[in-house]
């Protein structure tokens, strides 16, 4: 295989040996007669108004059901005693009264649990690879598929809710992807069946679990008070938006990645913000002492009350006033407390399913679980880390998307190995932009170089490997840099040997782009 193909593989680019067929393995499922517009269901958002959304929230537990009767894929033989909540855009347009109809049980080629970016990309990849397969995407929120990454921008009205939605509203219909708003209660791996919270079921041939993660609620007195929220879902965002007004007192619990992402939105909303972080610095899992320290200094300069090495001991409410008690004895008045202390994979529904779960769902390098026809991807999966080779939960957007694609390719019968996703992050904290890539904390025995210019809020740290990889970049972190950042990923993931350019970088690490070009392009062009 050519070197470049090797690089492509490293990046998880599709690369199928030519003798590989792309057709679906399971042939016992009838091929569809035509790409139907009225098949199962495609929940889309285009005509949905805000009002409809709120109606839906109110109807959370008694949702009206619509089904399509004409799908080729509906297996009428399966027990049909329970309701499913499957809606079709077409039917909805035809019958806006949202009538309840008889429910059925369904089968599908590919079921995807989770309608975040991972699930959506997986569905699209499956569609691309399998033009005729039945694909069902299941989301457990009463929203169209959307991106959590966009929530901070929703909070500052940079976008409306539709701006968070993944793809245009008719996309799923056009792609012939069934979108099902359901909460999967359990997986019966023996029967290849999903059981929904309302008792309805879905039989699959292959399953992708891309169920994502949920915020941890720290065990603190008062964590369940009405004005204590996480900031994870659109619903959370709506609630935060309704409380976090100009001048209101907001306490942000946790200065991790998510905390920092919403920090700016809160400041821009004009709230009086305090951030309480247990760790000794901000974003401890993305930045070292120097970078985290600079970020803290920056936030304080911008008027944010940052308290590191501080714990919230209790949140108390009396006479409608909330007080946040700290372990240093201080008390903070709060109209709103936002809990952002970390996330955990959504694996509870897999109990007794036979699917192996450790921190997240364990997968092999094809993102396959211990059960052959079940795959897992995204925040919920314990996928391979590019840098360490270990299988661990990364819970970041680019990884989720990579996972979704690679899992889908494997589900389509291709053999694509996931060589590991690079752990990387980008943060914009009140205008100060920071990044971390791979082994930003360095490796034992590897060289590193750093620029630290606190006055200018600039920081750059490059980490190199050891032994035969001594001239290979393995990690980096930056503060105050925005240009050509992606090349850090390129250098790390392609494991380019920098040769003499490593020495140049040790002298001046800002020359990263030149190092990349000199190492990848033919520059020896004597006149």
């Amino acid at each position: 295989m050519s070197i470049f193909n090797a690089i492509k593989r490293l990046f998880g680019m599709s690369d199928t040996p030519q003798n590989q067929t792309q057709k679906i393995v399971d042939t016992d499922i009838p091929e569809p007669k035509q790409a139907s517009k009225s098949k199962l269901a495609t929940e889309t958002s285009i005509e949905k108004t805000e009002k409809e959304i709120s109606t839906k929230i109110n109807d959370d537990n008694k949702q009206s059901t619509e089904t399509t009767e004409d799908s080729e894929y509906i297996d009428e033989n399966i027990d049909s005693s329970t309701n499913t909540t499957i809606k079709s855009q077409k039917d909805k347009l035809e019958d806006s009264s949202l009538t309840t109809k008889d429910t059925k049980h369904y089968t599908t080629h590919h079921a995807i649990i989770g309608a975040g970016p991972c699930g959506v990309v997986a569905a699209e990849t499956l569609r691309k690879e399998n033009p005729t397969a039945e694909i069902t995407l299941i989301g457990n929120e009463n929203e169209p598929p959307y991106s959590r990454m966009a929530i901070p921008y929703l909070l500052i009205n940079k976008i409306g809710e539709e701006g968070t939605h993944l793809r245009q509203s008719d996309h799923y219909q056009k792609q012939n992807i069934n979108y099902l708003q359901q909460t999967v209660a359990s997986v019966d791996a023996n029967k290849n069946e999903l059981v929904m919270a309302d008792g309805s079921t879905l039989v699959y041939k292959k399953l992708l679990i891309a169920a994502g993660s949920h915020p941890i609620a720290p065990p603190i007195e008062g964590i369940d008070l009405p004005n204590v929220h996480s900031c994870w879902t659109l619903k959370d965002a709506r609630q935060i938006a309704s409380i976090a007004k100009e001048g209101s007192n907001v306490v942000l619990m946790g200065a991790g990645f998510i905390g920092c992402i919403i920090l700016e939105a809160l400041v821009k909303r004009g709230v009086k913000l305090s951030i309480i972080e247990m760790g000794s610095r901000m974003v401890p899992r993305m930045m070292d002492e120097k970078a985290g320290g600079l970020l803290e200094k920056w936030c304080i300069e911008k008027g944010v009350n940052v308290l590191t090495s501080t714990k919230i001991t209790a949140i108390k409410e009396s006479d409608g006033n909330m007080r946040v008690e700290l372990d240093n004895g201080d008390k903070l008045v709060a109209d709103l407390v936002i809990s952002a202390t970390g996330v955990k994979p959504n694996t509870a529904f897999l109990e007794n399913s036979g699917i192996e779960v450790n921190d997240g769902i364990t997968v092999n390098n094809k993102l396959q679980t211990n059960i052959e026809n079940i795959y897992a991807a995204g925040d919920v999966a314990q996928g391979k880390d590019f840098s360490t080779g270990k299988y661990e939960v990364q819970a970041i957007q680019p990884t989720a998307v990579d996972h979704g694609r690679i899992a889908a390719l494997n589900m389509s019968g291709k053999h694509v190995e996931h060589s590991g996703s690079l752990n990387m992050n980008v943060l914009d904290t009140l205008g100060l932009i920071s990044h971390s890539f791979g082994l930003w904390m360095g490796v034992e025995g590897g060289d590193s170089v750093e620029i630290y210019n606190p006055d200018a809020y600039k920081y750059l740290n490059l980490r190199f490997g050891t032994d035969e990889n001594a001239d290979v970049l393995v990690g980096a972190s930056t503060l105050g840099m925005t240009q050509h950042i992606g090349v850090l990923r390129g250098l790390i993931e392609s494991k380019i040997h920098l040769k003499e350019w490593k020495e140049h970088l040790l002298v001046d690490p800002t020359r990263i782009m030149e190092a990349y070009l000199a190492s990848t392009q033919e520059l020896d062009n004597a006149v």
Partner: protein, 159 residues
């Protein structure tokens, strides 16, 4: 036939006419700091390397975008940033392994080469034909591939 930008470091003199043309096209002013094509100077090596997005098929930027703000321009093959949709989250900037999507502080959004809708101004402005807009064969991705293969002898073994 779809065309691609062909970048030839051997012909580049580092004059930055391309950067001025690019920024003028996008902003109506000469502003190399915001050009979407960049010429890198290698003083010690005495080399100049024009560099911009190759509109690669993999489109990491497009896939990584959480709000679908990067789309394919079917007429040119360019991956283009829809300004109205971009929220400036920068995930694409760390996803593109070639470093050719950049965050622009002034706009709060990202920017990348869009081939000027099929009439790239950088190629027009280049006085030495270091930047040309020609049939897609043997340019862009293929070229990058050639570079990578040449520069990574050790990868052969691991492949």
């Amino acid at each position: 036939m779809q065309k691609s930008l062909h970048l030839d470091p051997a012909k580049c003199t580092g004059c930055l006419q391309c950067e001025m043309a690019c920024s003028y096209e996008k902003l109506g002013e000469f502003n190399p700091s915001r050009s979407l094509i960049k010429v890198f100077s290698f003083h010690f090596e005495g080399r100049f390397a024009p560099y911009t997005c190759t509109q690669c098929d993999e489109a990491w930027c497009q896939r990584a975008c959480p709000v679908d703000a990067i789309t394919l321009d079917m007429s040119t093959g360019a991956k283009i940033v829809i300004e109205d949709k971009c929220v400036g989250c920068k995930v694409c900037t760390i996803s593109c392994p070639f470093g050719t999507v950049n965050y622009v502080q002034q706009t709060g959004k990202v920017a990348k080469c869009d081939l000027c809708g099929g009439d790239p101004q950088c190629a027009k402005a280049c006085p030495t034909d270091a930047i040309t807009f020609i049939d897609a064969n043997a340019t862009g991705y293929d070229r990058m591939k050639a570079y990578a293969e040449k520069s990574l002898p050790s990868a052969e073994a691991s492949a």
